[in-house]
Symmetry: C2
Subunit: 348 residues, 2 copies
């Protein structure tokens, strides 16, 4: 049995809360099958501040952490006492963090403050696991090299296609050459396009996606193709080992598509999808995110709702495609759990 | 740089010869990017006998090894001299084997002699990499445990879906629970069914598949569903951790399907495919291989020629599907190369 690991959560929205539940759900399995024990020693968010207790705390008992209030808290006494730090470095130190789960929201243009959080964690000597795509696009090589120097891991499996192990799959494809890929990686636009084909207006379709909990209150990032472009950039940066700036990706969102155009396209057998594409051209990669008409019988046309799809072109496998159908509630949080198991087995 | 590894090839048909070419093709990349150097110190087959030279030999210069004869052999002198051993254990010792590539042909009922070869390699202290499904179905737990005891690896990524990293993918899905799967994993029957839909008789379609190099001279194993059943058993044994005997898999081949029935089914929008299925039921797994009518617009209906497809049902991802389209010539051999890179990095 390895010594218990101290886990810290930064950004305490849906993904982090689901991860806390998933960790609790799998606690016995992690201990008995993987020899991993842990305790939560820090949680932090804009609302909560920097909460730490190196002896462990129960996130579900912290007021304002987003869990249902308990009539009779069952938590151990020390789990309700904590200190409050002033900044991320103080907090990591106070919590004696072994693993940081970073799940703050994406800043497309700078990747901040997530980049600073991950840098601080690695410098502190913790593994850094993020659900935030920004740091990959804005600081992948720096953070990767820093992690290597520190003997820690920087992992981000939940950033693309929920927790499907896309990045890890390519760790299992050594000495293969990725020439390009195409696919559908943004759920919000996929749901909106389907609903508009069924007759809803853009605004109605967006409201429905929001009501389903798929689209955020500010869905601009999805609708204008930013989310898909950032994911495309992350895949290119990591899997093709070619750094690419966001502005190099030709980007077009779905705002200009009318319900009429969508219905006509579907009727003609060539429905619209928001497609991301990347193709190696010499030392560079040409990439785009744009609505495309795809043949109704093609795999991309079948990707509905929250499902996603990526088709990879490699020298060995001309076409290797991954489809994720109807991800469950736990899918994104699972990606972080799987990263946690990776760092834990590396920490043996 | 790690010390050069001694590689031995047992069974020297198409897969092994392609692997020799692929290794030569990637030699610089393996050395410069992965720090791996190697030499071939043994090749063996029924025809060649047990050939070994611990100083290295050039398989492409060995007469009868299946490579084009050379007008002027460029090989170093010692690579054309070798000793001949009497059996697999003597041979592994004479070749000072670090890695065995086992690619003898499948014996469905016993898994032999591949099981003995792998056991001998692990006991000798070599890693064992096989393209043969027999040992997984007949001796998986024994060989896995023997490998662990010896501190060596027993890997078999090329046995299902050519070299697509199916088994390795699940190494990257820790603490996930696989409930079942379905898919198309046998190329010969897939090609024959397509050709028969186009109007060929069964015999003509089989001859065409043989002429294309897809079906073997004796295609009974494919046609009667044995190949698909063995692959299904391998997936169940390894990924669901439930040992299953071949006779527990309900198995039906494609012999009874007439061109007329196939054409009618395709015309009605429900073409026939040879589908493998597995489903967890309590502590056991229920499994089958049989021709099934599938909806023409479903993913399985789109799997044509040598392509293959598996849809996995897990607790986190209700549907996670892998499609391999038109595998290249190197696909199966690549699976063994990737296993080689796995054992080499483990041997650091």
């Amino acid at each position: 049995m390895k010594p218990g690991l101290n886990l810290c959560f930064l950004g305490f929205g849906n993904v982090s809360r689901t991860l806390v539940r998933l960790l609790a759900d799998r606690e016995t399995e992690l201990r008995d099958r993987h020899g991993i024990t842990y305790r939560v020693t820090g949680i932090a968010s804009r609302r909560l501040g920097w909460i730490a207790n190196p002896s462990g705390l129960d996130p579900t008992a912290v007021r304002g952490a987003g869990f249902p209030a308990r009539a009779k808290p069952e938590a151990k006494s020390n789990s309700l006492t904590f200190t409050t730090a002033q900044n991320v470095r103080e907090w990591l130190a106070a919590a004696r963090a072994d693993v940081l789960f970073e799940a703050t929201s994406l800043d497309v243009q700078t990747g901040q403050p997530a980049v600073d959080h991950i840098r601080a964690a690695l410098e502190h000597g913790a593994h850094a696991i993020t659900a935030n795509k920004g740091p990959i696009v804005h600081a992948y090589r720096e953070l990767r090299d820093l992690a290597a120097k520190q003997g820690k891991r920087f992992l981000f499996e939940s950033t693309v296609m929920d927790g499907v192990p896309i990045f890890s799959l390519f760790d299992q494809l050594p000495a293969i050459h990725l020439q390009g890929f195409h696919g559908i990686v943004n759920s919000t636009t996929n749901v909106i396009l389907s609903e508009m084909e069924q007759g809803l207006s853009f605004d109605e379709a967006l409201k429905k996606a929001q009501a389903l909990g798929i689209a955020e209150t500010d869905a601009t990032h999805d609708i204008d193709g930013w989310d898909a472009a950032v994911k495309t950039a992350a895949l290119i940066t990591v899997l093709m080992d070619v750094p690419i700036r966001l502005e190099e990706i030709a980007r077009e969102g779905i705002r200009d598509l009318t319900p009429q155009a969508l219905r006509n396209a579907r009727r003609d057998g060539w429905p619209f999808k928001l497609v991301c594409r990347a193709k190696r051209e010499g030392d560079r990669v040409k990439a785009s995110v744009a609505p495309e008409k795809v043949l109704a019988t093609s795999p991309m046309a079948k990707i509905s709702g929250t499902s996603s799809y990526i088709y990879f072109e490699t020298d060995i496998f001309p076409g290797l495609a991954i489809t994720e159908e109807n991800p469950g509630l736990y899918a994104t949080a699972y990606g972080m759990l799987a990263d946690f198991l990776r760092v834990s087995s590396a920490a043996k």
